[in-house]
């Protein structure tokens, strides 16, 4: 069967109680068609790991109101669940009771849940008919994990894919540890208020305001897009989309939503998590130096760059984009090679600010220093101080995930003893 033409699972909207009439738009929903969008993006991070509430990020993204059109907004926050930091925090949106029942039965089978609750929200006039939004703090079911032959992250990812692709009316908004995404249909400032993001403390915040050309129609299509600890906010329309999609789909990533953000997240997951590259190298692969530049390099460096471009030629991202990628390590910002989209950076002490517009930084930090625009194709990396220190001790060789021993096998007590072979 030709994959690109397979029928995407249609998310039926349930007719019974708990359905959302507003979601029944005439046009196709996100995932059934590809919807080009323009956007506003912003991020704030404290390198020391100090946590700050969502007030500033809300103010920053609200300033760029005109860059979105009320059809999508959201936030990702890192460090918000320190009491459950060892557990995967699933934020799941439901469009019906049946979807929740089915999802919870599924989670019950494959995960052990420490806590589950409705995410507290506040009525906001502009936000109509939100889905039912829950969060779960879970660990993979130990036996099923051991029998899966997968590592913990891969196991969790596969089950997130299952819920998103196979359970009608359920969508996992985020699935990382000690992080979460808060997103929906509306202007970002209204979405932030709805989720009460000012009441969460995080060491890194990212935000997104969307300007889709069509009505995406449902909350799952809003951004940030997330997977495990990754969250991606993006502004642009990549022209390499189908080349990138068909590349990652070889390796089990199903691009259900047909969005740029989704495929960029999967590329990052493939390169950084599975292939073991640093985030900087992963970004470098996606916005590779030009052949003209490579031809001017000394031979050994040129050979290195040529090999990266040759092996990962289908991971090159083309067309206008500016992205901010959040993870447990920190933030990474990247512009397309030609710098076709705006993205500014600034610092103040341990704080780093990123935004589509300079004004969105200055409104929360009027005396920001080192204000500059991100260079085309040059990854801008901000890591937690603790991560920088840890990285310096690690090998500089990339270690693919499949070559690493499974934590759930080697860290089992009692530890396996080294035995001399006869």
């Amino acid at each position: 069967m030709v994959r690109s033409l397979r029928k995407l699972p249609r998310r039926k909207i349930c007719e019974n109680e708990g359905s959302h009439p507003m979601l029944e738009t005439k046009g196709p929903r996100e995932g059934q068609v590809r919807i080009p969008s323009g956007c506003a993006i912003a991020a704030i991070m404290d390198r020391t790991g100090g946590r700050h509430d969502g007030g500033d990020i809300l103010k920053s993204i609200a300033l760029m109101h005109d860059r979105s059109n009320g059809l999508g907004g959201g936030f990702a926050a890192y460090g918000i669940y320190p009491e459950y930091k060892e557990l995967y925090a699933f934020h799941i949106m439901y469009e019906s009771r049946e979807a929740r029942a089915e999802t919870e039965a599924y989670l019950d089978k494959y995960f052990m849940s420490e806590k589950q609750e409705r995410i507290p929200t506040e009525p906001v006039a502009a936000i109509k008919n939100p889905p039912d939004i829950w969060r779960y703090f879970v660990a993979p079911h130990p036996m099923r994990l051991a029998n899966s032959g997968l590592d913990e992250a891969e196991y969790t990812m596969q089950h997130v894919f299952h819920i998103n692709g196979k359970i009608d009316g359920a969508f996992v908004a985020s699935s990382g540890k000690n992080m979460g995404a808060f997103k929906g249909v509306g202007y970002p400032e209204d979405i932030g208020e709805f989720y009460r993001i000012q009441d969460y403390d995080a060491w890194a915040w990212t935000a997104h305001g969307r300007f889709p050309t069509n009505t995406p129609g449902w909350w799952g299509g809003a951004h940030p897009f997330t997977l495990l600890n990754w969250s991606v906010v993006h502004n642009g329309e990549i022209s390499s989309y189908d080349a990138n999609r068909r590349y990652v789909e070889q390796f089990g990533y199903d691009c259900e939503l047909q969005t740029d953000t989704e495929v960029i997240t999967y590329l990052f997951d493939l390169l950084a998590r599975r292939h073991g590259f640093s985030q900087e190298t992963a970004a470098h692969i996606m916005a590779a130096p030009s052949w003209e530049d490579i031809d001017r390099m000394p031979p050994e460096e040129a050979a290195y760059q040529t090999a990266l471009r040759t092996v990962y030629s289908s991971a090159l991202v083309n067309g206008p984009f500016s992205i901010i990628i959040g993870s447990d390590e920190g933030l990474l910002a990247l512009n397309d090679r030609l710098k076709l989209r705006a993205l500014m950076a600034a610092e103040k002490g341990p704080m780093v600010y990123l935004a589509s517009e300079q004004a969105a930084i200055e409104i929360v930090c009027p005396d920001a220093e080192n204000v500059r625009s991100i260079e085309g194709g040059q990854p801008f990396v901000v890591q937690l101080d603790s991560v920088v220190a840890a990285k310096a001790r690690e090998s500089a060789e990339n270690c693919p995930a499949r070559e690493k021993p499974f934590r759930h096998e080697v860290e089992v007590h009692p530890r396996r003893k080294e035995r001399a072979h006869a």
């Binding site: 030709v2 994959r3 690109s4 033409l5 590809r34 080009p36 969008s37 323009g38 050309t213 642009g236 329309e237 990549i238 022209s239 390499s240 989309y241 189908d242 080349a243 990138n244 068909r246 590349y247 789909e249 070889q250 390796f251 599975r274 292939h275 073991g276 590259f277 640093s278 900087e280 190298t281 030009s290 052949w291 003209e292 050994e300 460096e301 050979a303 290195y304 760059q305 040529t306 090999a307 990266l308 471009r309 040759t310 092996v311 990962y312 030629s313 289908s314 090159l316 991202v317 083309n318 067309g319 206008p320 090679r337 030609l338 076709l340 500089a396 060789e397 990339n398 693919p400």
Partner: protein
Amino acid sequence: MLDYVLPRYRVMRDKDLCIQCGVCERSCSNEVHHVDEELGRVTANNAACVNCQRCVVMCPTQALAITRWPQVDSGSSNWTLETMQDIAKQAQTGAVLLSSMGNPKPYPIYWDHLLLNASQVTNPSIDPLREPMETRVFLGSRPEILKVNERDEKLSAPLPPQIRLDVPLMFSAMSFGSISLNAQKALAMAARELGTFFNTGEGGLHRDLERYADCAIVQVASGRFGVDPHYLGAAGAIEIKIGQGAKPGIGGHLPGEKISEEVSRTRMIPQGTDAISPAPHHDIYSIEDLRQLVFSLKEATGYSKPVAVKVAAVHNVAAIASGMARAGADIIVIDGFRGGTGAAPKRIRDNVGIPIELALAAVDQRLRDESIRSTVSLVAAGSIRSSADIVRAIALGADAVYCASAPLIALGCHQCQDCSSGKCNWGIATQRSDLVRRLNPEIAAERVVNLVHGWTHEIKEMMGGMGINAVDSLRGNRLMLRGVGLNEKELEILGVKYAGE
């Protein structure tokens, strides 16, 4: 026996313009024209005309044009004149019908049903005159995961050998023997100038072309003509030819009279003997045998150059290509049924194989379904007619394409389909020294270089319109294509949406 075969063409000579200079007579190796001093006019033996149009181009007064023979057929759509003439020929000779060049039958040309995209508003198109626009590609196999030392910016293990193309097209295999040395030299010179490759075919590498060996892909075909360690070692890459789009499942036969001293030396066979390429390789009766040959060639060359395997596009091509990748092929070449040839049985050429567009799409998708597409290179061949066809082929999933007919047309070929006669008036498909001399390799190379430069500009314009500045991002990017006039099954196999979707 009375010959029932009618002329196919008729020479139209404008008496008012003709100055009886005799250029047409001297131009024609088929001896069509004759300046008849007694009659005081130029006569034509229409039956000998193959419509190569050399005389039309050479005539200083533009007095000549070739037209079809005006004979009407029987009125039957079933028993067309061509069908009946074929029967007449076979009734006369008892032989297999021989023909040349690509399949001329009106099968669907899928390229012409695929339209390209361009950016409007939501993302900008890119102007290739202002921004870099990259057409460079590498061919060879790659590891799925690259291991590097990021701090030192060094590779932990060397990359398998690659060949570099500055433009995503190469010149497909045409042997010395099937084409003249001057034609091959022109392609070699053009390949060097353009930063791409020509292919020796299975006729060996002539000593005059050894200085272009680094731009050569040398072929190892079932006849193994001209293959020795020197030949393998000199080339940029090696290609095992299993099959050819124009004649899948068929071997080759170069008659002894064409084995001149030079051809004999280059093919390493005695002068005057028939050069017979068996239908299969007699050491490849199965996929595991292919693996042995691939690795024999890699061993022979110290794993220093990529090994390509070329097959004709046949019904089960997707599974075959997947097997080739697993057998160690670094480059997979698929040759569609419209691909050209110097000589093929007409019934084979016109009836065997499948279109390259469908074969390419199926192979690319199968390799992706098997998660191995990124580890091999894929080259499409078999009638690439323009830069737009190249863009379509890459968007369907090819890394690069092979072209042969188009560069030959640049050299003067008019697709008369009479290559096998060895009397090519353009000096291309002939070994007759008086005809070969007509093709000046330097000028011919310049024409090919001009053609490819023009195409490259057009490719850049089309990519820029799509908002793409590197050919890497076009490869397999089927969203850049939309179908028109195709049914659902065709769209499904091509993996493209219908225009308006």
